[in-house]
């Protein structure tokens, strides 16, 4: 038996889906989180019947006439796959809007059960709902639910009603007249009549204490948080606090303990190996596998605290406000207002971020957003940020915060360039973003989300990163004749010979060492690899306790071990964050762009942007800190000027396309 979950965006479908199936699909307190359907079996504890029931979570839709690709998914599924029962999740705090879709669903002939969700929030607002009357008026069962609660949430009754209505005929409460879909006026007047019916119905079943045009405390908060001018500094302050807590205060406390355990394990294995084992095998096991993986895993507590805090921000409804604040900037540079959603999702992982671009209808805007979304620092880049912030900047919270805002700046600049190149600089888009109500964030939901991400991080560390570190260790140990390289002759290793040509190009960026180039290269497999490879090539197992690190190495400072100045370290961080993402994300870009020319242009653009940003960071930083430009300034300037010149040429070419379009439209051709 197939049960489809349908409803408006942000009505709580995925939360209800997770509650009835026990799954952990990602939820967010804002519209547009689900962009594809998901399936799961309904839990036995809720399903008292002998029937096997599968729930299908569908993306949110406002009506059966689709305006977006995710609404298409919902409409096509409901119409073509004919589920046995529809559960229509209705946001009880916004009946007027939600029941429009309900009346359309009831016309399909499939039995419907209405889950009147978020009733806890309605009660808080002292809104009284006559559920029995609503059920009678709609000709279908209506069950009050609070899917965020673990008990007394109405879900058992909901599933019971689903079983009861299975196979029954659904009668229609509202009969719409024949609509001519080719005539906009006909569609509009039909919709208006339907709205009138819904309005009248809501008037009969709902008694509100707070009128929707009344100013609430939430509105007062939004006047600051979502303000045109104050929104950005508030966002900066929020992000700084998040990094300060996760990277400077709480995270390192747990990281120190974890790193202590990893170090203890390293010493234990080393003592067990004894003196008879080949030094090559010993190094592979200790430095390549335990050291390399341990260095990455050591950052887990910092990342977990950060993810937990971001999950709280999302759950309370703040991230939707950020989307609103950023929207006006994005529109000005020719992006869709919807572009902000993939970018916020991209802070977790670039892949779903890129996939979320499919909700954007305009092809150029969709491809541009897919190209720019990976600039947002994703979860995999966080250990890299934490490593450099910790080693070179004394765990300063501004490092992580500034990387987020630099990413936003690069995205805006990138969008401006792309819109000029494609000759669509006059394109404007409109996007209505629905702001969810603020709510007290659920610590349980944030913890579940954090734990599942932590599990993913550990699995990744134990698979891809482990294998990469082992490969790096082997390539560092042997030369092309497969002989073990002598100590001090590491420059002759396979790894050095592969990385050195790349290192040469990186000299103007302040990090021309082959070890750093090797780490940047492995970063394209998975960004966490940068940390793992640095640990292997510099034989460092502990990036957290940097004082201990300096003591072990005997170096005056940690920078000495890696051969980096503070400015060069920042430049290296910028390069790794703003060059192309991992191969998996590039694969997602390929499938969402659907055009090889756009894909290669996008990768080239990402390389160019990362290189130029890193060059400027190093050279300008060196000028300010030492009074002169850094190494390789002239060749770097030539390369950067060539890149910039080529982009300017393409932009001019695009401008002439725009003028041609304008003159053609002015002549009315």
């Amino acid at each position: 038996m197939k049960v489809a979950l349908t409803g408006n965006p942000n009505s709580g479908k995925t939360t209800l889906f997770n509650a009835i199936t026990g799954k952990i699909e990602h939820v967010g307190n804002w519209a547009g989180v689900t962009v594809d359907k998901k399936e799961g079996d309904i839990k036995k504890s809720l399903n008292k019947s002998s029937l096997s029931m599968t729930a299908v979570d569908l993306p949110g839709a406002y009506s059966m006439s689709p305006f977006t690709s995710e609404e298409n998914i919902t409409r096509d599924f409901v119409k073509n796959e004919k589920p046995d029962v529809l559960i229509n999740i209705v946001d009880s705090t916004n009946l007027n809007r939600s029941l429009f879709f309900t009346t359309q669903l009831l016309e399909l002939g499939i039995p419907v059960v209405v889950a009147l969700n978020k009733t806890d929030m309605s009660r808080k607002k002292k809104t009284v709902l006559d559920v029995a009357r609503l059920s009678k008026a709609l000709n279908c069962p209506v069950v009050e639910t609070v899917s965020t609660k673990s008990s007394q949430n109405g879900l058992e009754e909901l599933i019971l009603k689903v079983v009861e209505v299975r196979g029954s005929a659904q009668s229609v409460p509202y009969i719409s007249e024949k609509v001519d879909f080719s005539q906009a006026q006909s569609v509009q007047s039909s919709d208006r009549r339907r709205y009138d019916f819904v309005k009248e119905l809501v008037g009969k079943v709902e008694t509100r204490k707070i009128k929707s045009n009344q100013q609430t405390r939430q509105d007062a908060v939004d006047r600051v948080v979502a303000n045109k001018w104050l929104g950005i500094p508030v966002f900066m302050l929020v992000m700084w606090s998040v990094f300060s807590i996760s990277q400077t205060h709480v995270g390192p406390l747990f990281a120190d303990i974890l790193v202590g355990w990893i170090d203890g394990f390293y010493v234990l294995v080393e003592s067990l190996l004894g003196g008879d084992v080949s030094p090559v095998l010993k190094a592979l096991l200790l430095d390549g596998i335990i050291g390399g993986v341990g260095a990455v895993v050591g950052f887990l507590p910092l990342i977990m605290v950060l993810f937990f805090m971001l999950a709280l921000l999302e759950d309370c409804g703040y991230m939707a406000r950020v989307a609103l604040v950023m929207d006006r900037f994005f529109k000005k540079v020719g992006l869709s207002g919807k572009s902000i959603i993939p970018m916020v999702i991209g802070t977790g992982c670039a892949i779903p971020g890129v996939m979320a671009t499919r909700t954007i209808k305009n092809e150029r805007q969709r491809r541009t957003t897919a190209m720019l979304t990976p600039f947002m620092p994703c979860g995999a880049k966080l250990p890299v940020i934490a490593l450099f912030a910790g080693i070179f900047f004394n765990d300063a919270a501004w490092v992580g915060t500034s990387m987020y805002f630099l990413a936003i700046g690069i995205i805006i600049l990138g969008a401006l360039i792309v819109v000029r190149i494609t000759g669509e600089k006059n394109a404007r888009s409109y996007f209505i973003l629905e702001l969810p109500e603020y709510r007290f964030p659920s610590f349980k939901r944030a913890a579940v989300s954090t734990m599942s991400r932590a599990k993913a991080f550990i699995i990744k560390a134990g698979t891809i990163i482990l294998l990469c570190n082992a490969a790096v260790q082997i390539m560092q140990t042997f030369n092309w004749q497969l002989q073990v390289v002598a100590e001090g002759a590491e420059n002759t290793s396979i790894l050095a010979s592969i990385s050195s040509p790349f290192a040469f190009v990186l000299i103007p960026l302040g990090f021309g060492a082959w070890q750093l180039a090797a780490a940047a290269i492995t970063g394209f497999i998975a960004k966490e690899n940068i940390v793992g490879t640095l640990a292997v090539v510099f034989s460092i197992t502990n990036f957290i306790d940097t004082e201990e690190l300096a003591l072990i190495s005997g170096s005056a400072d940690v920078a000495g071990i890696m051969g980096l100045t503070t400015v060069a370290a920042l430049s290296y961080l910028v390069f790794n964050l703003f060059t192309p993402p991992c191969f998996a994300a590039i694969g997602a870009m390929n499938s969402e762009m659907g055009d090889k020319k756009w894909l290669w242009a996008g990768i080239g653009f990402q390389f160019g942007m990362g290189y130029v940003a890193s060059f400027l960071t190093y050279q300008i930083g060196s000028l300010f800190s030492t009074g002169s430009f850094g190494q390789g300034f002239i060749p770097g300037l030539v390369l950067v000027s060539t890149l910039v010149g080529y982009v300017v040429y393409l932009m001019k070419k695009g401008d002439s396309k725009t003028s041609l379009k304008l003159s053609v439209s002015a002549k009315g051709v």
């Binding site: 990602h26 594809d36 190996l273 779903p352 082992a470």
Partner: protein, 44 residues
């Protein structure tokens, strides 16, 4: 003898890592370990 044991341990670790990657890929995961990544669904 000790070297052979270490080689076997290394092969076992590598084998487990590879088999985990293969099984995740078979499940349709786009990114290894990701709880939200599967066939037709990926929405962190």
């Amino acid at each position: 003898m000790a070297n052979i044991i270490i080689v076997l341990i290394l092969l076992l670790i590598g084998g487990l890592a590879v088999s985990k990657i293969v099984s995740e890929k078979k499940k349709g995961a786009k990114c290894i370990g990701c709880p939200y990544s599967g066939k037709g669904s990926c929405s962190c």
